[in-house]
């Protein structure tokens, strides 16, 4: 990689303590030793099932929690949970777009209020009104004067998500964290929004973290894909390599589960969707399986999969995976 990472997670683990009734407590092991780097002008897609810890990682990047171990680094400087003006300084570089556009805007405040607060908080000195219209144009909410006075309930889901993005852009961040930004939108709106994110990345040099469970959109938008399963990163690398040549059995399962128009009809004229025999359920993170957490669902699980998490096997093109299948191979050769 030519330039150093803007924002990175270094060996981050996160545990939550939940209190049940009668004073019982349990520990949720949401993330285990995760490292991820975001670079200027590049998109990293984080793919995985619901509950795999994707959002937890995004929230760690947004400093909502202090990681149990490991650290978040902004340009190599470790950062912790902060308040007041130091928090504001961090948020002027790192912004997040939340999943649900119907919940992420205060129903009592207009578009103008949201944008003005963002600009004011980050000491924008210039023509506020002009800058707000510029931001709305940037996210294609035109004519801007029609939108600036609107309340959230007067906007559609896609328009609200654009307002959220405009609000995040108002602080001129270096990093944008997208926590499933398109999953709640109509399918017809999704491509538009992906293209918007791509153009923001290219034109403003944003480092983009794109969290999704939809591997097809990850392929469309991202240069790099990381696959997460039950709080562990299991595979990653250049998007095309991960999609075309998946290594980890979980990545293969994910790819098989996603509808791909090109695969629907094979040469023989039959549907080439493989019947997924028993996809299984993601494990409970309170009492996760030992070793590789995927082993109960893995069709090719071996004895060592139950006991220890495999080391990382890297290929020359930057494609890597954590799977015993490849570890033993490389040791043998």
């Amino acid at each position: 990689m030519p330039d150093p990472a803007v924002l990175e997670a270094v060996d981050v683990s996160m545990r939550f303590t939940v209190r049940g009734g009668l004073g019982r407590t349990a520990t949720v092991r949401a993330l285990e030793h995760v490292s991820l780097r975001l670079h200027r002008g590049r998109t990293v897609a984080l793919v995985g099932e619901s509950g795999s810890g994707k959002t937890t990682l995004a929230r760690l990047f947004a400093l909502m929690y202090q990681p149990t171990s490991g650290e978040i680094r902004l340009r190599g400087e470790p950062v912790g949970v902060r308040r007041g003006s130091t928090a504001r300084a961090y948020y002027s570089e790192v912004q997040m777009v939340l999943q649900d556009p119907f919940a992420s805007l205060n129903p009592m405040h207009t578009v103008r209020h949201n944008l003005r607060r963002a600009l004011r908080l980050h000491h924008f000195d210039g023509d506020l009104e002009e800058r707000m219209h510029e931001l709305l144009r940037r996210v294609s909410l035109t004519p801007t004067q029609d939108f600036i006075g609107k309340l959230p309930h007067e906007l559609s889901g896609g328009q609200r998500q654009r307002v959220s993005i405009a609000r995040a852009l108002a602080v001129a961040p270096k990093v944008l964290l997208g926590d499933e930004p398109i999953s709640m939108l109509d399918v017809s709106m999704r491509l538009d929004l992906l293209n918007l994110l791509a153009s923001l990345r290219d034109e403003e040099g944003l480092a983009l973290l794109y969290i999704t469970h939809d591997i097809a959109s990850a392929r469309y938008l991202a240069e790099e894909i990381c696959v997460m399963y039950a709080g562990q990163l299991v595979e990653g690398g250049p998007a095309e390599q991960v999609i075309q040549n998946p290594q980890h059995p979980y990545t293969k399962l994910l790819l098989e589960a996603s509808p791909d128009p090109a695969r629907t009809v094979s040469a023989a004229g039959q549907s080439s969707f493989l019947p997924i025999a028993d996809a299984g359920e993601p494990p409970s993170l309170i009492d996760p399986p030992g070793g590789c957490r995927f082993h109960p669902r893995c069709p090719v699980a071996k004895a060592e999969c139950r006991t220890a998490f495999p080391a990382r096997t890297s290929a020359a093109d930057g494609h890597w995976t954590n799977c015993w299948l490849y570890t033993s191979e490389s040791e043998a050769s």
């Binding site: 939340l98 919940a103 129903p107 009592m108 607060r117 908080l121 309930h153 007067e154 602080v171």
Partner: protein, 301 residues
Amino acid sequence: MVLRFLSGWKVRAGLTVFLLFCLLALLGPWFCSSVLHISPTALDVDSVSTPPSAGHLLGTTASGQDVLAQLITGARQSMIAGLVASVLGTSIAVLVGVTAGLAGGVVDSVLTALTNVFLTMPAFALIFVISGYTQGGGPVVIGIIIGIFGWAGGTRALRSQTLSLRNRDFVVAMRMLGESRVRLALVEVLPHLIGWISAMFLGGFVGGVLAEAGLAFLGLSSASTVSWGSMISEAQQGNALLGGMWWWFAPPGLCIALLGASVTLVNFGIDEISNPRLRNARRTLVRRARQAAVKGADSDE
């Protein structure tokens, strides 16, 4: 926002009645003595227990006092007790409830414990004992006592509302913009509680008026002040119900009921402020209904 708030007929009717009562409380005593030339305490020995007539518009009591004069003068005492009780009760509830909900941790635990203590206190019995002790303190003292013992119920509601609001996405989003905690509380969270707070305020107001009336009815207000409660109390002691003297107890009872109704009507309108969807839904519905009616009329012709 204020103008929109005034657009519904319920709010207008409620506000009109409420403001009339406020005016009565403010100017009533002066109006009685200077314009009507009647006194709530003067005894007219020539007409005792008379039904409404030209001389006494709402009749007289068993001891010959003018009921209308008592009704007008009594408004002030009742309203002051209600106002003091609701301002005090609501302020404590908002302060404790919102702080507990937003702060969390130890602060929340302490404030919740305090709330629970006040919640489990037998409030009316305590009000009864203390107002018996401070007899003659007048409506302000009664209002203070009611306020101090009446805030706990609303506090729990406000705390749980704040707790749920605190982790809503839009609050999280503003926090990730770097918004300060005070502004998060005042600008993002508090407006969503306006409906609750105003309902508590207005409910507390009616509660204060009723409690004052109840205490006066039980004989626990100073003998020299005239309030709606003391009027009903005296009517009861004067056997008004048995004697068929409806003009003695019905007007103060109706006034209390009317005040409560007006406050409820105002509350409907406040609900629309804190939930913008309500007002627009209504307006678009009206517009659609009108369009449909016009179309229907066109097609009939």
